[in-house]
Amino acid sequence: MNDTVRIHLRPMGVTFEVARHTPLQDVLFPYGVEFPCGGKGKCKGCRVRVIEGALAVTPEQERMLSAEERDGGWRLSCQCRADEDLVLELAQWEAQILADTSSFTFAPRRGLGIAVDVGTTTLVAQLLDLEQADVLAVRTALNPQARFGADIMSRVGYAVAEHGQDKLVDVVRRQIERMIAELLEAGHRPGQEIVDVVLVGNTVMHHLFCNLSLEPLSHYPFATEHLAGVTLSGADLGWEIPGNPPVRFLPNIGGFVGSDILAGVVATHLHKDSRPNALIDLGTNGEIVIGTGDRMLCASTAAGPAFEGARIYMGMRASTGAISAVRIDAGGFSCHVLGNVPPRGICGSGLVDAVACALDLQLILPGGRMQGGEKSLTLADPVKISQTDVRELQLAKGAIAAGVRLLLGQCNLDAAALARVHLAGAFGNYIETASARRIGLLQFRADQIHPAGNTALLGAKIALFADPEIFATLARKITHVSLSELPDFQDTYVEEMLFPA
């Protein structure tokens, strides 16, 4: 029997091979499938439709899916493994966008639209039929700027101190142009017009795509006068798109907090909820928004790339061969490896799990030091975490936890008072919330925490239907707080570097 199986995805028309018995959760995420409940079979966010081949129906799926849905080939991909060749249709985006725009005054539009999430690390683009709000095609790619610096400050440094602005602008525009060309090839039929292109991203991504000077963001007070949205034409960008649509980068909120977070606020309805709520994007540039009904505050924290597996000794992105989850089994570590292959590294969710387990096993002390002065801990040979990795994680989690605490303080709120804490971004989707709580990254009750998927992209899609003025007004309503200027910043940050005992 062949050890690999072939998976073909519709509507994107992508085919790839994976090791037999690979959990679908491990391989579908890069294609836009999200696992809002964390892959526990408790929601229908990750459902896919089997066109060819078979996926077993587990008890979780019997509970979540109607007989009609199951007969129609619908499965929860988080509960399935690829045991044979498969043709799958990914359609959950459609469900999500329809469900999440219900409170919007959105009218179906003629033509097609494109939504792009311009992330510091990854780019995601989708082609939509605006009449049905159907996703016709999805493309993801790494942000090609990453080789000039992993985090936004090093991009700013490259642009300003090393005169690399033109280079950074050029590589990201070209990459997005390529992705759009691929989207059109996969999902565009002759005669259809593209009527709108919406992009979201943080302030640095905004400035680099729109070719605005980053100089004001390179030093104190780290504030730009170009917070507003920017509309470019195909001619400005040297792009040729049928229908010659406007290319709109949505407005920034303030400081480094950009339209990806603004889109997240819209996608999670934070601005419409009268109860106190939070949105946390656990990325390289960790952003936090707290809404209290009448007002909203936001901030960004320099969490660094530890959650993405960067600057970690054996760190890697969440891809085949990465340890993505760790639990305690018989007093030792039991590791889950993506793609059903031998482990070759560890990704962010695995790192958080590993440290949480090691704290429980007292192999790591609350101060972060490894027991007995060990320099590393072996998780599953040959993969280890080093003492320095733990320090990197302490810096990252300290930055986020301190940011949340300081912002809550500005709102006179306790963490317990938040009705919901929406986690945005890929990492927020994959992370085991129990582990995030164990290491003190998220200091909330389990019932407060809601992984919300790629809220930036969802919000960008909503923007394809919404009045642009809604976004512009909302951006002005959210107040940006510069955390490092608060008197308690250092003490809070340092305290939050420690792990709970």
Partner: protein, 211 residues
């Protein structure tokens, strides 16, 4: 001395209450404040620095040790001043113009204080003019500058140039540090030294004031 070892331990473990109490008791018992500094405080902070460099201590441990050291030093400092005791050196320290990052700078300031230096901390976003004014007013012999961003690092160069232009370059040694800073950069801008961590900064400062 058994009781004084308690001060050493309190600083090492970051217990500022015990550090303060032990210092009060020692001073009440007539112990020479200079001896407290030389025999307990400086060796304790040296050990803290060694552990930090060996990755045994991290930023939080270093800062809580520094807090304990400061609790003790606050009681001792007026007595030293009254006796006319000279510090190991006078340092003007700050994060340069345009930059707000101060944790690294605070670590260095604490370590220098623990090593017996008088530290004049100008805070963050410090302009060249402020550095020069402090140098002149406080008769400092050492300037320590920090920057965390490649984009703000250039302020170190402008500050060195401003110190030259003000005609006080000969009176002071200049040391720099921070994530993007290198020995090569220190040489380029004409600084006297570079250190890549708080512990090594103490050794560098000692070397520069002795030169």
């Amino acid at each position: 001395m058994e009781d004084l070892k308690k001060l050493y331990d309190a600083i090492l473990t970051g217990n500022f209450k015990i550090a303060r109490e032990t210092t009060q008791q020692a001073l009440a018992a007539g112990i020479d404040p200079q001896a407290l500094v030389q025999q307990q405080m400086i060796p304790a902070m040296d050990e803290v620095g060694r552990r930090y460099e060996a990755n045994e201590y991290f930023v939080p441990e270093l800062l809580i040790s520094a807090r304990a050291m400061k609790a003790s030093l606050e009681l001792i400092r007026p007595l030293l001043a009254a006796k006319g005791a000279e510090p190991a050196g006078r340092v003007v320290i700050g994060t340069v113009k345009g930059d707000l990052h101060d944790i690294g700078k605070n670590l260095v300031a604490a370590m220098l204080e623990g090593a017996g230096f008088e530290v004049i901390d100008l805070g963050v976003d410090v302009s060249p003019e402020k550095f020069i004014a402090a140098l002149n007013e406080r008769h400092a012999t050492l300037v320590a500058m920090s920057a965390l961003l490649t984009t703000t690092m250039n302020s170190m160069k402008t500050t060195v140039e401003a110190i030259k232009a003000a005609g006080v370059r000969q009176k002071v040694k200049i040391m720099i540090g921070g994530a993007p800073v290198t020995q090569k950069y220190a040489d380029e801008i004409g600084a006297d030294g570079y250190s890549n961590n708080a512990n090594a900064a103490v050794a560098l400062a000692r070397k520069l004031v002795a030169a």
